[in-house]
């Protein structure tokens, strides 16, 4: 089972996430697998995602912290850096990962990504195109999706 011989680091990070949660973020480990976290992120204020509650899953691979956590949105979201499968285009989850970073840093970075979409480094081509050609309309679509998919969690 994944819980046997859990590294001290994961235990400590989990304890800290539960005792001192970051504002607008909640992360709790699954009962049957301490490497799997159920995450909820509140849509940042003054962003198209405001008022939405977004579900994510986060998994710590065997090599963590030498390898980055695997994170994915479970709630549908209209964002140029998140695709329809919920995969996230974020440098610290890929080549810029460092073992000096931790779960808290990753979740804060994802929250920041919701506040500042980057259509120049897209994961979803269509959404990025929409964002660049007509930002106001794209923002409206994002708000609509937030209302449709992220309000009744």
């Amino acid at each position: 089972m994944a819980n046997s011989n859990l590294p001290r680091r994961i235990i400590k990070e989990t304890q800290r996430l539960l005792s001192e949660p970051a504002p607008g973020i909640s992360a709790s480990p699954s009962e049957d697998n301490m490497r799997y976290f159920n995450v909820m992120i509140l849509g940042p204020t003054q962003s198209p995602y405001e008022g939405g509650v977004f579900k994510l899953e986060l998994f710590l691979p065997e090599e963590y912290p030498m390898a980055a956590p695997k994170v994915r949105f479970l709630t549908k979201i209209y964002h140029p850096n998140i695709d329809k499968l919920g995969r996230i285009c974020l440098d610290i989850l890929k080549d810029k990962w460092s073992p000096a970073l931790q779960i808290r840093t990753v979740l804060l970075s994802i929250q920041a990504l919701l506040s500042a979409p980057n259509p120049d480094d897209p994961l979803s081509e269509n959404i990025a195109k929409h964002w660049k050609s007509n930002e106001a309309e794209a923002v409206e679509t994002a708000k609509e999706w937030t209302r449709l998919y992220a309000s009744g969690v």
Binding site: R9, A67, S98, P99, T105
Partner: protein, 528 residues
């Protein structure tokens, strides 16, 4: 019994002529692993002594400049500080600052170390910064990078996200968990010298599986579409331009098209077109695997039809009446596909046959070298140099099989409208092929007879003369074929009603069966 002196004289003269041919200047050098290591070490040593830096720093700097020593010196003496910052060789290391909100961790393992000497033993920072991590964390970090990052482990940085200080070879050697990691690191370092080199257009690894040699192409200019064959010390021959096996005189783009063609699914599609019929209802291809013509498509379609006329199957179906001129699109498409497939199969079968013959010849040649020549030596008391004509013949067979193999790829893509050229090419190809078959038979079957049967030495001398002459003759045939392929048969005019004589170049009328000037027969109208 004394051997025939005249035959012996003829053979020895031939061998002397072969030996006296000047050694061809090769435009490339094959480098062994030790040669590459030595070159790399020379560059590192030069940088260390000139810039007064450590070996680790020299490696980091050289990799940054793609192992170009002169470029590194130019950059360093122009902008030393900028270069240092770019590669992470900081003069004044960034202070060990960790964020107060705890979003960065001081030790990846979350262990807490007590103060005092024991703690100092555990705290280690990169040579070029002051971010301390415990030994266990460093070991894990380095091992993970060597295992997963490929050549990227040579550009390892301090784990602090905002730091960028380089982690050098010295630190890796101190902290690498296992000796296997160190070996892997050194292997990547060696690979980097070839693969990251500023000269990478002129130096590359031999593509043969398991070969550790690199080829340094000194005189390579590049850009031409022609093949450029290189022979490695491991005896593998490859084309410098495209890294495929040697294929001269066929151009790289033809080879690429051919390889794609027979890897491609397009031939499967053609097979489906030729050997199946589409269900008239759902268009799914159906292969007839039983005798009766009553076909029933699979679920969910389940349409029943006649295999012959593709009409719906009735209670008493018959389609025996001939309806003149009725030919549907599907039939025409099928006919074209069948012709194309047949044409492709014609060339592909011959390409494969020559490929397999060459592979077999390579194995046989090894046997000849290791076993047969020794037997003949004992049997006829012929010294090895005298018997080298057998070796020459086998080498010629191996090389000619390769040329012949690729001549079929060349033939497949030959422009269909150039009939004169095509016929002349096929004539040359045919001559070369039938000659090669004779040579191969002689070197394979007749040689076997001399090894196993109890034949007098006169017969062996006769065989020797025959094999030598065939080797020379086939060499000439193939020279002609290669020249024709390299130059795209300029001897033959492409203009419909004329043909250019390949002997005297006189332009004859298309209807002429012999050259008006030299009476050579037209390759278009028959054997020369």
């Amino acid at each position: 019994m004394m051997p025939d002196m005249e035959s012996n004289h003829h053979l020895n003269r031939f061998l002397r002529e072969e030996d006296q041919k000047p050694l061809q200047h090769l435009p490339y050098t094959v480098l062994k692993e030790a040669d590459i290591s030595q070159r790399q070490l020379d560059d590192i040593t030069q940088v260390c002594s000139t810039l007064s830096v450590s070996r680790s720093a020299a490696i980091i700097l050289l990799r940054h400049c793609n192992w170009n020593v002169s470029k590194l010196f130019d950059n360093w003496f122009d902008e030393e500080d900028e270069v240092r910052i770019t590669v992470g060789l900081f003069k004044n290391p960034p202070v060990d600052q960790f964020s107060t909100d705890g979003s960065l961790v001081k030790y990846f393992c979350f262990e807490t170390f007590p103060g005092g000497d024991g703690f100092d033993d555990q705290r280690i920072s990169s040579t070029f910064c002051d971010h301390f991590y415990c030994r266990a964390c460093w070991v894990g970090y380095i091992s993970k990078s060597i295992a997963n990052d490929g050549l990227g482990c040579l550009s390892l940085k301090c784990p602090h996200p905002c730091c960028g200080a380089a982690v050098g070879e010295d630190m890796i050697f101190v902290l690498a968990a296992e000796s296997a990691d160190k070996d892997k690191y050194l292997r990547y370092l060696l690979r980097s010298y070839v693969e990251d080199s500023y000269r990478k257009r002129k130096i590359k690894w031999c593509p043969a599986p398991g070969c550790d040699h690199a080829v340094d192409f000194v005189d390579y200019v590049g850009g031409s579409g022609g093949a450029c064959d290189v022979s490695c010390l491991c005896s593998y021959k490859f084309c410098w331009n495209c890294n495929e096996e040697a294929h001269s005189p066929v151009k790289c783009d033809t080879v690429a098209k051919w390889i794609l063609k027979h890897k491609d699914e397009s031939e499967n599609t053609n097979w489906i077109l030729v050997n199946t019929k589409p269900c008239p209802e759902c268009r799914r291809p159906i292969e007839k695997n039983q005798g009766c013509s009553h076909m029933r498509c699979r679920a969910p379609c389940k349409f029943e039809f006649c295999w012959i006329c593709l009409g719906p199957w009735g209670g008493s179906h018959s389609c025996n009446s001939y309806l003149q001129g009725v030919k549907n699109k599907s039939d025409k498409r099928k006919e074209v596909a069948k012709l194309n497939l047949d044409r492709y199969i014609h060339y592909y079968e011959r390409w494969v046959a020559n490929h397999e013959s060459r592979q077999k010849a390579l194995v046989d040649f090894q046997l000849v070298q290791d076993v047969h020549l020794k037997k003949l030596d004992r049997k006829y008391r012929q010294t090895n140099p005298i018997l080298s004509f057998i070796r020459e013949a086998w080498l010629k067979i191996i090389e000619c099989r390769r040329v012949l193999k690729w001549s079929y790829a060349y033939g497949y893509y030959f422009p269909t409208h150039e009939h004169g050229k095509r016929q002349f090419f096929e004539y040359l190809q045919g001559e070369a092929e039938s000659g090669l078959e004779k040579l191969h038979h002689c070197a394979e079957v007749e040689l076997e007879e001399h090894i196993n049967a109890d034949k007098p030495i006169e017969d062996f001398i006769e065989f020797r003369t025959k094999l030598v002459q065939l080797t020379v003759l086939i060499g000439n045939y193939f020279k002609n074929l290669v020249r024709a392929m390299e130059n795209d048969l300029p001897e033959i005019s492409s203009y419909g009603d004329y043909w250019s004589c390949y002997i005297c170049t006189y332009v004859n009328e298309g209807s002429a069966t012999m050259c008006v000037m030299c009476s050579s027969q037209s390759p278009v109208h028959g054997e020369v």
